[in-house]
Symmetry: C2
Subunit: 214 residues, 2 copies
DNA sequence: ACATTCTTTTAATCTACATTAAACAGCGAT
DNA sequence: ATCGCTGTTTAATGTAGATTAAAAGAATGT
C-alpha cells in the first residue's frame, strides 16, 4: 500500500534549509502522512500511525511540523504543486507548433504518470479536498485553481481552433477529462496494467472523445 | 450543501417495519449521515453533527441504529444498491435490439442522474470507500463488485460486437468511463449546468471515446 | 383517565488521541 | 571532558466525542 517513490523536493521551500540528514526524516514523515491520510482521511489520520510508518515516535513529528494540521496542509499541497510544475514544464518543452489537442494529450500523460507515481499524495488530495477545515482548504483551493487554469487554457485553445467537437461545452469537456484521469488513482494497480498502457489508452480515449468526427 | 431529495426506500429491508411516522425519522438520520459523511469523512463524522442536521439529539440515533458504524455502513450501501437497481431496471426497459453502445449510454445517463440527485450518498461512498474499517468495507465491496459486473458485461458485449475501438482494452475503457461519470459528483453544481446538459455532454463524450472511427 | 409501548431527552462514563513537558542521546567545536 | 546544538524519546495533561443509563414525553389503545 505504500506508493511513494519520488521526493517531494518542493516542500522545504519555506524553511531556509538545504540540509540532507534531517531533511530526509522530514520527507519520511511527509510520505508517511500522505499514505495514512489517503487511507484514513483527514480526521482519521492519527499521528501515532504516521509515526509508525515513518519509524519514529509521534512527538518527534512536532520537531518538524508545528501541528498536525500543518503537516496535513503540506501533504495536500505538495501533490498538486508538483503536478502543476510537471505539467507546465512538459508543455513548455513541447514543440512550438504543437496543436491544442497534442498539448491536451501531453497533459493527460503528464498528469497520469505523476498521479500514479505519487498516488498517496493524489488520493489524499482527492479524497480529502472536501473534508478540510476552512483554513487548510484555502491554500489547497488556490493551488487547485492554478492547476485548473492551465487546463482551462488548453481547452479554450482547442475550442478556438476547432479541435473540440461542437456539441461539447469546453468547461464540461474539461471536467469529463479530469474525471477520466483523476479517477485512475482510485482503481489503478500495477498488477492490472502498466502505466504505459494506461497512458496509451487514456490518450486514445480522450482524443476521440473530444475530436470532431471528420 | 444538502442534496438529498429522494427516499432511500431500499434501506429498511432488514427490519420488518413498514411504518411511516418514525420511519421518516430514520430516513432523516440516514440523509443527515450521508451529508456529514460526505463532508467530513468516515472518522470525521460526529454523531452530534448528524443529530444537528437531522434535528434531534445524538443519543436518539441509537434508537434507530445500533452503532455509529452500522449507520455508516448503511449509508455507504444505500447509494450503491439503489444505483444498481436503477441501472438494471433501465437496461431491462431498453428495447431488446438496443446495441451495446446504446446500452452503455443508458448506463451513463442512469448513473449520472442518480448520482447527481443523491450526491451526498455518492460522494460519501466515493470518498470513504478506501477509509472504512474492514468489517464495514466487506458489504460495500460486495455491492460495488455487483455494480461493476453489470458494467463489465456491457463492455464485453461492446467489445464482442466490434463497437469498441480495438486500441482500447475493455477493462481500461470501463475504468476510464467510470471515472468520467463518477467524478461528476465532485465538480457538478446546479449553477454551472443542468443535469440534462451534463448527461448530453457525457454521452457524446463517451460514445466518441469508445466507438471505432469509421 | 390509565397502562403500555414507542420516541426522545438530559446526565453520567470512558477512552482515545493531540499536544506539551521534561529528560536523554549524539556530536562537533573548543 | 565539557558546552551547546540537533534530534528523539518517555511521561504527563486535557479534551472531545461515542456510548450507556436514567428519566421524561408523546402516542395509542382500553
Amino acid at each position: 500500500m505504500a506508493k511513494n517513490s519520488g521526493s517531494p523536493t518542493l516542500a522545504p521551500a519555506r524553511e531556509g534549509k538545504t540540509d540532507k540528514k534531517s531533511a530526509r526524516t522530514r520527507v519520511r514523515i511527509l510520505d508517511a502522512a500522505a499514505q495514512v491520510l489517503s487511507a484514513k482521511g483527514y480526521a482519521g489520520m492519527r499521528l501515532s500511525d504516521v509515526a509508525e510508518v515513518a519509524e519514529l515516535q509521534a512527538p518527534a513529528i512536532y520537531y518538524y511540523f508545528p501541528s498536525r494540521d500543518d503537516l496535513i496542509e503540506e501533504v495536500m499541497w505538495v501533490g498538486l504543486a508538483e503536478m502543476r510544475e510537471y505539467l507546465t514544464s512538459a508543455l513548455a518543452a513541447a514543440p512550438a507548433d504543437a496543436t491544442a489537442m497534442e498539448r491536451i494529450l501531453i497533459g493527460v500523460e503528464t498528469h497520469l504518470r505523476h498521479e500514479l507515481e505519487i498516488s498517496d499524495y493524489t488520493t489524499a488530495a482527492i479524497r480529502n479536498a472536501g473534508q478540510l477545515p476552512d483554513q487548510i482548504r484555502e491554500r489547497h483551493d488556490a493551488e487547485e485553481k492554478k492547476y485548473g487554469a492551465v487546463w482551462r487554457d488548453l481547452f479554450k485553445a482547442a475550442h478556438a481552433s476547432g479541435e473540440l467537437r461542437d456539441d461539447l461545452d469546453p468547461y464540461l469537456a474539461q471536467m469529463l477529462v479530469m474525471g477520466t484521469i483523476n479517477w485512475a488513482a482510485e482503481w489503478w494497480q500495477p498488477s492490472r496494467a502498466t502505466i504505459d498502457r494506461v497512458v496509451a489508452n487514456a490518450q486514445s480515449f480522450v482524443e476521440n472523445a473530444l475530436s470532431p468526427t471528420k
